[in-house]
Protein backbone atom coordinates (compact mmCIF):
# COMPACT_ATOMS: atom_id res chain seq x y z
CA UNK A 1 0.00 0.00 0.00
CA UNK A 2 2.79 2.40 0.88
CA UNK A 3 4.47 1.76 -2.47
CA UNK A 4 1.52 2.95 -4.51
CA UNK A 5 1.82 6.31 -6.28
CA UNK A 6 0.34 9.20 -4.35
CA UNK A 7 -2.48 9.98 -6.82
CA UNK A 8 -3.68 6.40 -6.50
CA UNK A 9 -3.65 6.65 -2.72
CA UNK A 10 -5.68 9.85 -2.95
CA UNK A 11 -8.10 8.08 -5.27
CA UNK A 12 -8.50 5.30 -2.71
CA UNK A 13 -9.21 7.89 -0.02
CA UNK A 14 -11.83 9.46 -2.28
CA UNK A 15 -13.46 6.08 -2.90
CA UNK A 16 -13.46 5.49 0.85
CA UNK A 17 -15.21 8.81 1.37
CA UNK A 18 -17.74 7.86 -1.28
CA UNK A 19 -18.51 4.64 0.59
CA UNK A 20 -18.73 6.66 3.80
CA UNK A 21 -21.22 9.00 2.17
CA UNK A 22 -23.51 6.19 1.10
CA UNK A 23 -23.17 4.66 4.54
CA UNK A 24 -24.20 7.93 6.17
CA UNK A 25 -27.16 8.31 3.82
CA UNK A 26 -28.16 4.74 4.65
CA UNK A 27 -27.97 5.57 8.36
CA UNK A 28 -30.04 8.69 7.69
CA UNK A 29 -32.59 6.62 5.80
CA UNK A 30 -32.83 4.01 8.55
CA UNK A 31 -32.86 6.31 11.57
CA UNK A 32 -34.90 9.29 10.35
CA UNK A 33 -38.38 8.17 9.30
CA UNK A 34 -39.78 11.67 9.89
CA UNK A 35 -37.20 13.29 7.64
CA UNK A 36 -35.89 10.71 5.19
CA UNK A 37 -33.59 11.39 2.23
CA UNK A 38 -35.28 11.53 -1.17
CA UNK A 39 -32.87 9.02 -2.66
CA UNK A 40 -29.32 7.85 -2.32
CA UNK A 41 -28.05 10.02 -5.14
CA UNK A 42 -30.12 13.17 -5.01
CA UNK A 43 -31.77 13.68 -1.73
CA UNK A 44 -31.93 17.28 -0.76
CA UNK A 45 -35.41 18.08 0.44
CA UNK A 46 -36.76 20.44 -2.17
CA UNK A 47 -39.88 21.67 -0.43
CA UNK A 48 -38.66 21.77 3.14
CA UNK A 49 -37.62 25.45 3.27
CA UNK A 50 -41.16 26.67 2.60
CA UNK A 51 -42.77 24.65 5.36
CA UNK A 52 -42.38 26.71 8.49
CA UNK A 53 -43.28 23.92 10.88
CA UNK A 54 -40.68 21.70 9.30
CA UNK A 55 -38.05 24.37 9.48
CA UNK A 56 -38.88 25.11 13.08
CA UNK A 57 -38.95 21.50 14.09
CA UNK A 58 -35.72 20.66 12.31
CA UNK A 59 -33.67 23.72 13.11
CA UNK A 60 -31.85 22.74 16.23
CA UNK A 61 -31.80 26.24 17.65
CA UNK A 62 -35.57 26.44 17.86
CA UNK A 63 -36.47 23.09 19.32
Amino acid sequence: MKNLPTPLKLLFIFIGLFVLYFGLVQIWSLTSPEYPPNSLLDHYVRNAPDVDEWVDSRRQHSR
Binding site: M1, K2, T6, K9, L10, I13, F14, G16, L17, F18, L20, Y21, L24, V25, I27, W28, T31, S32, P33, E34, Y35, P37, L41, D42, H43, Y44, V45, R46, N47, A48, P49, D50, V55, R58, R59, Q60, H61, R63
Partner: protein
Protein backbone atom coordinates in the same frame (compact mmCIF):
# COMPACT_ATOMS: atom_id res chain seq x y z
CA UNK B 1 -7.51 30.59 16.72
CA UNK B 2 -6.82 29.50 13.21
CA UNK B 3 -9.32 26.83 12.24
CA UNK B 4 -6.80 24.98 10.15
CA UNK B 5 -3.54 24.85 12.03
CA UNK B 6 -5.10 25.19 15.53
CA UNK B 7 -1.82 26.63 16.64
CA UNK B 8 -2.07 30.37 16.59
CA UNK B 9 -4.39 32.91 15.09
CA UNK B 10 -3.28 34.95 12.14
CA UNK B 11 -6.74 35.76 10.99
CA UNK B 12 -6.13 35.32 7.31
CA UNK B 13 -7.08 31.74 6.55
CA UNK B 14 -10.81 31.17 6.60
CA UNK B 15 -11.73 27.80 5.16
CA UNK B 16 -15.35 27.65 4.16
CA UNK B 17 -16.78 26.24 0.97
CA UNK B 18 -16.45 29.69 -0.51
CA UNK B 19 -13.26 31.31 0.73
CA UNK B 20 -9.62 30.51 0.97
CA UNK B 21 -7.21 32.84 2.62
CA UNK B 22 -3.76 33.75 1.45
CA UNK B 23 -2.15 30.39 1.93
CA UNK B 24 1.57 31.13 1.38
CA UNK B 25 1.47 33.76 4.08
CA UNK B 26 0.02 31.29 6.54
CA UNK B 27 2.51 28.55 5.76
CA UNK B 28 5.33 30.99 6.27
CA UNK B 29 3.88 32.06 9.60
CA UNK B 30 3.39 28.49 10.78
CA UNK B 31 6.94 27.73 9.76
CA UNK B 32 8.12 30.72 11.77
CA UNK B 33 6.08 29.55 14.75
CA UNK B 34 7.65 26.12 14.67
CA UNK B 35 11.14 27.56 14.41
CA UNK B 36 10.37 30.09 17.14
CA UNK B 37 9.46 27.30 19.54
CA UNK B 38 12.62 25.38 18.81
CA UNK B 39 14.95 28.38 18.81
CA UNK B 40 13.41 30.57 21.45
CA UNK B 41 16.13 29.72 23.92
CA UNK B 42 19.74 28.82 23.69
CA UNK B 43 20.56 25.36 22.42
CA UNK B 44 21.20 24.07 25.93
CA UNK B 45 18.01 25.45 27.42
CA UNK B 46 15.66 24.91 24.48
CA UNK B 47 12.57 22.89 25.15
CA UNK B 48 12.17 20.37 22.44
CA UNK B 49 8.80 20.98 20.73
CA UNK B 50 7.82 17.36 21.08
CA UNK B 51 8.06 17.80 24.84
CA UNK B 52 6.19 21.06 25.12
CA UNK B 53 2.91 19.43 26.06
CA UNK B 54 3.79 16.05 27.52
CA UNK B 55 7.33 15.63 28.51
CA UNK B 56 9.00 12.49 27.25
CA UNK B 57 5.99 11.15 25.37
CA UNK B 58 5.49 10.79 21.66
CA UNK B 59 2.99 13.66 21.54
CA UNK B 60 4.00 16.54 19.36
CA UNK B 61 2.33 19.44 17.62
CA UNK B 62 1.38 17.36 14.62
CA UNK B 63 -0.26 14.74 16.81
CA UNK B 64 -2.20 17.47 18.57
CA UNK B 65 -3.26 18.76 15.18
CA UNK B 66 -4.50 15.29 14.25
CA UNK B 67 -6.49 14.99 17.48
CA UNK B 68 -7.95 18.43 16.91
CA UNK B 69 -9.19 17.27 13.51
CA UNK B 70 -10.60 14.05 14.97
CA UNK B 71 -12.56 15.94 17.63
CA UNK B 72 -13.68 18.50 15.05
CA UNK B 73 -15.06 15.71 12.87
CA UNK B 74 -16.67 13.63 15.60
CA UNK B 75 -18.57 16.34 17.49
CA UNK B 76 -21.04 17.16 14.66
CA UNK B 77 -22.24 13.55 14.77
CA UNK B 78 -22.55 13.51 18.54
CA UNK B 79 -24.89 16.52 18.45
CA UNK B 80 -27.83 14.87 16.60
CA UNK B 81 -27.51 11.69 18.65
CA UNK B 82 -27.51 13.66 21.90
CA UNK B 83 -30.48 15.71 20.70
CA UNK B 84 -32.43 12.59 19.84
CA UNK B 85 -31.92 11.36 23.42
CA UNK B 86 -33.03 14.72 24.75
CA UNK B 87 -29.57 15.60 26.00
CA UNK B 88 -29.78 19.19 24.80
CA UNK B 89 -27.12 20.32 27.26
CA UNK B 90 -24.71 18.39 25.02
CA UNK B 91 -26.19 19.06 21.60
CA UNK B 92 -26.94 22.76 21.86
CA UNK B 93 -23.41 23.93 22.67
CA UNK B 94 -22.11 21.82 19.77
CA UNK B 95 -24.69 23.25 17.37
CA UNK B 96 -23.91 26.73 18.62
CA UNK B 97 -20.15 26.40 18.16
CA UNK B 98 -20.50 24.88 14.70
CA UNK B 99 -22.96 27.57 13.65
CA UNK B 100 -19.94 29.87 13.34
CA UNK B 101 -18.38 27.52 10.80
CA UNK B 102 -21.41 26.56 8.73
CA UNK B 103 -24.78 27.91 7.59
CA UNK B 104 -26.44 24.78 9.06
CA UNK B 105 -29.27 24.67 6.53
CA UNK B 106 -31.06 21.46 7.37
CA UNK B 107 -31.90 20.78 3.73
CA UNK B 108 -28.19 20.71 2.95
CA UNK B 109 -27.23 18.46 5.85
CA UNK B 110 -27.17 14.79 6.66
CA UNK B 111 -29.43 13.58 9.46
CA UNK B 112 -29.24 11.06 12.25
CA UNK B 113 -32.28 10.13 14.33
CA UNK B 114 -34.33 12.91 12.70
CA UNK B 115 -31.80 15.54 13.76
CA UNK B 116 -29.33 17.17 11.44
CA UNK B 117 -25.59 16.80 11.72
CA UNK B 118 -24.07 19.97 13.17
CA UNK B 119 -22.68 21.10 9.84
CA UNK B 120 -23.66 20.66 6.21
CA UNK B 121 -22.70 17.82 3.89
CA UNK B 122 -20.04 19.91 2.20
CA UNK B 123 -18.30 20.77 5.44
CA UNK B 124 -18.64 17.20 6.68
CA UNK B 125 -16.66 15.96 3.71
CA UNK B 126 -14.22 18.85 3.49
CA UNK B 127 -13.07 18.20 7.02
CA UNK B 128 -13.60 14.44 6.79
CA UNK B 129 -11.32 14.17 3.77
CA UNK B 130 -8.86 16.55 5.43
CA UNK B 131 -8.78 14.19 8.42
CA UNK B 132 -8.44 11.11 6.21
CA UNK B 133 -5.47 12.57 4.36
CA UNK B 134 -3.92 13.81 7.60
CA UNK B 135 -4.15 10.31 9.11
CA UNK B 136 -2.58 8.91 5.93
CA UNK B 137 0.23 11.44 6.26
CA UNK B 138 0.70 10.68 9.93
CA UNK B 139 1.02 6.95 9.32
CA UNK B 140 3.39 7.40 6.40
CA UNK B 141 1.05 6.44 3.56
CA UNK B 142 1.46 9.86 1.99
CA UNK B 143 4.87 11.46 2.22
CA UNK B 144 5.11 13.74 -0.78
CA UNK B 145 3.52 17.14 -0.38
CA UNK B 146 2.34 19.57 -2.98
CA UNK B 147 3.07 23.23 -3.51
CA UNK B 148 0.32 25.60 -2.46
CA UNK B 149 -0.68 26.41 -6.03
CA UNK B 150 -1.76 22.80 -6.52
CA UNK B 151 -4.74 23.75 -4.39
CA UNK B 152 -6.17 25.59 -7.38
CA UNK B 153 -7.30 22.53 -9.37
CA UNK B 154 -8.67 21.00 -6.16
CA UNK B 155 -10.63 24.19 -5.53
CA UNK B 156 -12.22 24.58 -8.96
CA UNK B 157 -15.03 22.00 -8.47
CA UNK B 158 -16.11 23.39 -5.09
CA UNK B 159 -15.82 26.95 -6.35
CA UNK B 160 -18.06 26.17 -9.29
CA UNK B 161 -20.60 24.16 -7.33
CA UNK B 162 -20.72 26.34 -4.24
CA UNK B 163 -20.12 29.60 -6.06
CA UNK B 164 -22.87 29.15 -8.63
CA UNK B 165 -25.22 27.99 -5.89
CA UNK B 166 -24.43 31.05 -3.78
CA UNK B 167 -24.99 33.37 -6.74
CA UNK B 168 -28.21 31.55 -7.57
CA UNK B 169 -29.37 31.89 -3.97
CA UNK B 170 -28.64 35.60 -3.97
CA UNK B 171 -30.30 36.13 -7.31
CA UNK B 172 -33.28 33.92 -6.65
CA UNK B 173 -33.49 34.76 -2.95
CA UNK B 174 -36.50 32.52 -2.66
CA UNK B 175 -34.95 29.07 -2.31
CA UNK B 176 -37.47 27.41 -4.59
CA UNK B 177 -36.82 29.80 -7.45
CA UNK B 178 -33.08 29.81 -7.67
CA UNK B 179 -31.70 28.55 -10.98
CA UNK B 180 -29.13 26.22 -9.47
CA UNK B 181 -29.20 24.20 -6.28
CA UNK B 182 -26.51 21.66 -5.57
CA UNK B 183 -27.26 18.18 -4.28
CA UNK B 184 -25.74 16.45 -1.30
CA UNK B 185 -23.91 14.11 -3.65
CA UNK B 186 -22.31 17.04 -5.46
CA UNK B 187 -21.50 18.67 -2.14
CA UNK B 188 -19.82 15.47 -1.03
CA UNK B 189 -17.81 15.07 -4.26
CA UNK B 190 -16.63 18.67 -4.49
CA UNK B 191 -16.04 18.94 -0.75
CA UNK B 192 -13.97 15.76 -0.71
CA UNK B 193 -11.83 16.88 -3.64
CA UNK B 194 -11.16 20.20 -1.93
CA UNK B 195 -10.47 18.59 1.44
CA UNK B 196 -8.07 16.07 -0.06
CA UNK B 197 -6.12 18.84 -1.77
CA UNK B 198 -6.09 20.89 1.38
CA UNK B 199 -4.94 17.92 3.43
CA UNK B 200 -2.12 17.00 1.07
CA UNK B 201 -0.78 20.54 1.06
CA UNK B 202 -1.19 21.45 4.73
CA UNK B 203 -0.70 18.13 6.51
CA UNK B 204 2.40 17.12 4.59
CA UNK B 205 3.83 20.56 5.27
CA UNK B 206 3.12 20.31 8.99
CA UNK B 207 4.50 16.77 9.13
CA UNK B 208 7.68 17.84 7.36
CA UNK B 209 8.07 20.71 9.79
CA UNK B 210 7.57 18.39 12.73
CA UNK B 211 10.03 15.84 11.37
CA UNK B 212 12.56 18.58 10.75
CA UNK B 213 12.29 19.69 14.37
CA UNK B 214 12.41 16.13 15.67
CA UNK B 215 15.70 15.45 13.91
Amino acid sequence: MCVVCSVQSYGVLGITPYTIGFFPYVTKKISLLFSRISHSKSAEEAIHPSKVFTSGSSYNLFTIFVWFLIILNVLPFIAPMAASFGWYWISEPIYFVYSFMCHQFHWRSLHINNHQVAWCTRDTFIWGSFLAVTLAVKHGFITKGLKWYWLIPFTIPIALDGGIQTIATMVGFNFNEQFYLSTNLMRMITGSIFGIGLGVVISTFLKEEQDRIDL
